[in-house]
């Protein structure tokens, strides 16, 4: 059942560029980026029990840094990409030192505060960020001579990185380290009594989540060729968090499905209904009422019940 579902999805994802038009190809590329972003947030929220409202920081800073170095310093893509990722990951290390002074609500507020500082900076530091105009004129790189300006080429590029990212994150949560991370979520005190350094486990996860957030930010700025302070806003963080929770936090597939739902509502429904945020709210409330732990665990439970009923 599970293997069949993954197989079908693989065929569908590989086939889309050959049957669908550019609109859908571009749209699906955006879902891949959102999926990496949501999956990285899920490491903290779902597996670490650390609800963050500041994950946009890593997406936004990686995007801004690479665009700024490319546009203002005239650096090449092959240099800006690793520098942006490394700098953003280091920033995650620093933010982790601050945010992990607390857990629960305190952690949520600290992550929110830190990302709001960045958002405000992006708006006000006009000489660097161009403020509300955003940074325009970014281009897509051409790794190994493949021109990513072509929608299909970008699609497969984003797909490859998404598959790699999600596979590595799946290995991370399935490893002994991942088991200890879930342990700190469920019984932090017991974990330290057993010899586990709870703080360090959380900090490493925080940095790792920041790293994948930076990767999604890089793809984001390559896709849009533009970056605006809105990408650092609370809305960006909250949309991802809603996707994670609606899909099922602490599951592998949940955030991917949740992110896809948010993207569909945002891009598709918003052309018919202006207040798409309202609809997103209704959909979220609907899911949480009927499936409190998210779509993936909810559907799994329904499936188990359905299978139990017919021998």
């Amino acid at each position: 059942m599970r293997r069949a579902a993954w197989g079908l999805m693989a065929i569908a994802l590989l086939g889309i560029p050959f049957i669908a038009g550019n609109y859908y190809i571009n749209f699906t590329s955006q879902i891949f980026i959102a999926a990496i972003f949501a999956a990285s947030l899920n490491l903290l929220v779902g597996y670490g029990g650390l609800p963050s409202l500041g994950h946009a920081s890593y997406l936004g800073v990686a995007a801004y840094l690479s665009a700024w170095m490319y546009l203002k310093l005239g650096m090449a893509h092959w240099m800006t990409a690793p520098i942006a990722i490394a700098a953003t990951t280091m920033m995650a290390g620093l933010f982790g030192l601050i945010a992990l002074r607390a857990t629960g609500l305190g952690f949520l507020m600290l992550t929110l505060a830190l990302s709001q500082v960045l958002w405000g900076t992006a708006y006000r530091w006009v000489s660097v960020t161009e403020g509300d105009n955003g940074l325009r004129g970014m281009t897509r790189p051409a790794p190994f001579g493949i021109n990513l300006e072509d929608p299909t080429a970008f699609y497969f590029f984003a797909l490859a990185i998404a598959v790699l990212a999600i596979w590595l994150m799946a290995r991370f949560v399935g490893s002994p380290f991942g088991a200890t991370l879930r342990g700190t979520r469920d019984q932090a005190r017991r974990m330290s009594a057993l010899g586990h350094n709870v703080w360090l486990i959380r900090w490493i996860t925080f940095v790792y989540a920041g790293f994948w957030g930076a990767i999604s930010g890089l793809l984001f700025v390559y896709y849009h060729k533009y970056i605006h302070p809105a990408s650092l806003s609370l809305t960006t963080s909250a949309e991802a968090l809603i996707g994670v929770i609606a899909g099922g936090s602490g599951t592998l597939a949940g955030p991917l499905i949740g992110a896809a739902i948010v993207m569909v509502l945002k891009n598709y429904v918003s052309s018919y209904i202006e207040r798409w945020n309202m609809l997103l709210g209704f959909v979220f409330v609907g899911i949480v009422i009927f499936m409190p732990d998210g779509l993936v665990p909810g559907v799994r439970r329904l499936w188990a019940r359905w299978k139990a009923r017919r021998p």
Partner: protein, 250 residues
């Protein structure tokens, strides 16, 4: 000065909550291999003392040494690496995980494998083999794959002890291991505790005097955060102060 280093040496330990002393100038020395019982009425500060030893609580003053090493300023996980393990009065397990996974988390606590973040946990077969071995020691190997939420209260108590034993601790703190158990379950857990090898020093808090007195070689009586009587079983039981505060004056 004794020739051997004490397993646990506490000197002038203090802790108060909002001005109320919970641990009031406590000094205790426990020798390696010893079986020590700590008794005292409710609110005497027994569990607080355990929490200070493990580092869950920070002491206001005094010194704690484990096998000669001053651990007063070490966080709880570092003390675990010094050979300290504990059980909780209120069962503290990972309820949605299997029994063997609970034990595996305990084994990982002292293993460098805990930092491995790529190879799936399930492929580390030796970890689960060892976990099942520990469960066999406490008679729960047939339930190894069951989730904690599916087993009885008495079985959970035994998992608590198994989690501590898995680490082969040098000093084991048992906080009311018999609390809430039926008569038969008490007997089996008492046997389990009696079978702990002498390499492990054991300090136990317990209210069930029948079972506890059989176990204890040395007894410490706490009252309002202070040690009021200490000595061998016979000495402590005979002491009028013990009768006054604990056994009930008649």
């Amino acid at each position: 000065m004794t020739a051997t280093t004490a397993a646990l040496s506490i000197v002038a330990l203090k802790k108060s909550f909002g001005g109320l002393p919970a641990t009031n100038d406590v000094s205790i020395e426990v020798l390696p291999g010893e079986r020590r019982l700590i008794i005292g009425p409710n609110g005497a500060g027994k569990t607080t003392l355990f929490n200070l030893i493990t580092g869950d609580l920070k002491a206001d003053g005094g010194e704690i040494r484990l096998f000669g090493q001053d651990v007063s300023r070490l966080p709880p996980h570092r003390r675990a690496h010094c050979g300290l393990a504990r059980t909780y009065q209120i069962i503290t397990l990972f309820p949605s995980d299997s029994l063997e996974h609970n034990i595996a988390l305990s084994l990982l606590g002292l293993s460098p494998l805990r930092w491995s973040a790529f190879r799936p946990l399930g492929r580390h077969a030796h970890l689960y083999d060892e976990a099942r071995g520990v469960l066999k020691r406490v008679g729960l190997d047939r339930l190894a794959g069951r989730s904690i939420s599916e087993v009885s209260y008495g079985e959970k108590r035994r998992v608590e002890i198994a989690m501590a034993l898995a680490q082969k601790p040098r000093l084991l703190l048992l906080d009311e291991p018999l609390a809430g158990l039926s008569r038969e379950e008490r007997m089996s857990v008492t046997e389990l505790i009696a079978a702990i090898p002498r390499e492990t020093t054991v300090i136990m808090i317990e209210h069930d005097m029948d079972a506890a007195l059989g176990f204890a070689e040395q007894i410490t009586v706490l009252h309002y955060g202070s040690v009021i009587v200490e000595g061998t079983r016979a000495e402590v039981v005979a002491d009028p102060k013990t009768r006054e505060v604990y056994l009930g004056d008649s």
